[in-house]
């Protein structure tokens, strides 16, 4: 089983991201579960959402305290919330930012992670390019497909087309493609290649 924890703020589509990922995993023939950890719903308040992906029925309902993967949609949370709490030492991290890990002040903290497991993605910029709004969740899901290989990019895109009809679905699918391409290119530059997660 792979457990993913999403961090962001109310209004950024954090819950939608987890839902979309579960839909993509379902489309890929896997079992998946997504659920939010809501506060009182306020724009801008820290929000978490969870997704589990497995090859068999998922029974547990507990919050994800030991994630295999973290997706951070809002880098201003990095030093406010215990984002990295419980992260698996060979897990994966995706952060929405145009800064480097060093500039974000977490370079040293994450240097023990395996090569090719941590990537910064300019997801808000990708969102602006395709949707004229800094929508970071769907580019990061494309990046998820790229960095973990757990879900096919096509499945991620088909979930987006299912959730958002017409042009909006296409724009999100294109943003996911850019997120995916960014991860592949930046890991190639890093020379680390891809170290894909176990599939279940």
């Amino acid at each position: 089983m792979i457990a993913i924890r999403f961090h962001g703020r109310g209004g950024q589509g954090v819950v939608t991201a987890a839902e979309l990922l579960s839909m993509a995993a379902f489309a890929d023939g896997k079992h998946a579960q997504a659920f939010p950890s809501f506060g009182s719903e306020r724009m801008g308040a820290p929000v978490m959402a969870f997704c589990r992906i497995d090859s068999k029925t998922i029974r547990t309902r507990e919050a994800v305290t030991h994630p295999d993967m973290l997706i951070v949609q809002d880098p201003t949370l990095l030093h406010q919330v215990e984002i990295f709490s419980g992260l698996s030492p060979d897990g994966y991290v995706l952060i929405n930012s145009t800064f480097s890990l060093a500039e974000l002040g977490i370079g040293d903290f994450l240097k023990s992670m395996p090569p090719g497991h941590v990537c910064v993605v300019p997801a808000s910029d990708i969102g602006v390019k395709h949707m004229r709004h800094p929508i970071a969740n769907t580019p990061l899901l494309g990046a998820f497909a790229g960095i973990t290989g757990v879900i096919a990019l096509e499945s991620v895109q088909s979930a987006m087309r299912q959730k958002f009809s017409g042009a909006l679905g296409e724009a999100n699918a294109a943003a996911a493609q850019d997120g995916y391409d960014h991860v592949i290119a930046s890991l190639a530059r890093e020379g680390s290649g891809l170290h894909h997660a176990r599939t279940t």
Binding site: V15, A18, E19, S22, M23, A25, F26, A27, H31, A32, Q33, A34, F35, P36, S37, F38, S40, E41, M48, I58, R59, T60, R61, E62, A63, V64, T65, V81, E82, I83, S85, G86
Partner: protein, 417 residues
């Protein structure tokens, strides 16, 4: 068709498959997604001739349905928490009048302190209002139980609450297989009321009943609930024959063979308990799990039969009878009357606290080693509790309790979960 759906969507679509004629509801988290979707589907004309009424309150919602149901309409509503308590008077009336209304409870804590997250305080508060209460383990079961609930309600002339954990189920995306319209129609015949307000054949229902007959009316209501025990199981069996999956029924065991310790619970925590049971079995601990799907009427005989060869029982419950302890545990103890099997109460998941597999496993080890007090509060933050008790001993006007506890918890440090 099997699809990855939000629990609220699965329930809304299951309700539409049941061809309701009147829906009245007032939105309240975490029930909102269910009624929002239903109102949209009614407006789009996807629900036949169904009428959706926007009402001013939960009391109004159920009052509308009492009238509509008495006039022969298949009726549905959904609520939670303070909303359920606000409609409480009408909840008793619907049962007393024998009206087969189906209501979803998106289980949520009851304030104060205000809390929008899951536990069973709301439906437990109205457990003895005369409604049948079914609890769903998964979103598949939640969808299935609604289809069974209409048949049960209408065969018995008794309202049914389908309880599903707020957020944990209502807001969870997971695979759900929704049946097609033709098979639901085959399972659930059109509503043929046993009592009907009809101007051409006038009757009145809801007469005042004095001391000379009130006991008899109540006795018959009790007998009707006991008959429901048979019908709940029959309808679940009939559902399984038609749809090829087990949903609902009275109670269901998991790894019960040779289990000396049996953990009992209601609702979505069953899955997490099963994970804990598997883990403990791997450690050589003979533990099993019993899910109660039908809580009212209470299947005492079936529960007694399932537990009688065990040496201890642990009831994990998401509610608290303040000043007494566990609510479900008290019923289980009564079911085990005379058997000398200890029943331990574990209060867990209050106000949305996550119940972890690890905490459950440690709790079972602790119960077996007789290390726990009674009742036990799972993952209670004793440091905060002791600090607050000490502060209150020193200061008479120590301030409002909830605010002080929040301050103490935040001082210790914000946890991710």
């Amino acid at each position: 068709m099997r699809a990855q759906l939000e629990g609220s969507q699965a329930v809304a679509e299951a309700i539409v498959l049941c061809r309701p004629e009147v829906i009245a509801a007032y939105p309240i988290s975490p029930q909102t997604h269910i009624v929002e979707r239903l109102s949209r589907m009614v407006k789009q004309g996807d629900v036949g001739r169904c009428q959706y009424l926007n009402v001013e309150s939960e009391f109004g919602a159920l009052s509308v349905l009492i009238g509509a149901s008495a006039a022969g309409a298949r009726t549905y509503t959904a609520t939670t928490s303070q909303g359920l308590l606000f409609m409480a008077e009408a909840v008793y009336n619907a049962a007393g009048l024998g009206l087969p209304i189906v209501m979803t409870i998106a289980n949520r804590a009851v304030g104060a302190p205000i809390n929008i997250w899951n536990d069973h305080s709301d439906s437990m508060a109205l457990r003895d209002a005369g409604w049948i209460q079914l609890y769903a383990e998964t979103n598949q079961e939640a969808a299935d139980l609604h289809i069974q609930a209409f048949r049960l309600a209408e065969e018995l002339s008794c309202p049914v609450m389908v309880c599903m954990d707020g957020y944990i189920l209502t807001h969870a995306y997971e695979p759900v297989d929704l049946p097609d319209q033709a098979s639901v129609d085959a399972f659930l015949p059109a509503f043929s009321p046993v009592q009907l307000l009809d101007p051409s054949e006038p009757i009145s229902i809801g007469a005042m009943v004095g001391p000379e007959a009130f006991t008899e009316v109540k006795y018959l209501a009790h007998q009707q609930h006991l008959r429901a025990l048979t019908l709940v199981q029959d309808i679940s069996d009939s559902f399984e024959r038609q749809f090829h999956r087990q949903s609902g029924g009275l109670c269901t065991g998991y790894r019960m063979t040779d289990a000396d310790t049996i953990v009992i619970a209601l609702g979505s925590v069953i899955g997490t308990i099963q994970e804990a049971v598997d883990g403990l079995r791997n450690e050589g601990i003979a533990v099993g799990c019993l899910k109660i799907s039908c809580y009212r009427p209470f299947p005492s005989q079936q529960i007694r039969a399932a537990l009688e060869s065990s040496s201890r029982v642990i009831v994990v419950e998401k509610d608290l009878a303040v000043g007494m302890g566990g609510i479900v545990s008290a019923d289980v103890r009564m079911a085990l009357n005379g058997l000398h099997i200890p029943v331990h109460t574990v209060i867990a998941g209050l106000g949305g606290r996550s119940i972890s597999t690890e905490s459950l496993k440690q709790m079972v080890r602790d119960v077996r080693a007789e290390r726990l007090s009674e009742p036990h509060f799972l993952d209670l933050n004793l440091r905060v509790v002791d600090e607050e008790l000490a502060r209150r001993r020193e200061q008479r006007r120590a301030g409002p309790l909830a605010e002080q506890v929040i301050r103490a918890v935040n001082a210790i440090g914000t946890k991710v979960v």
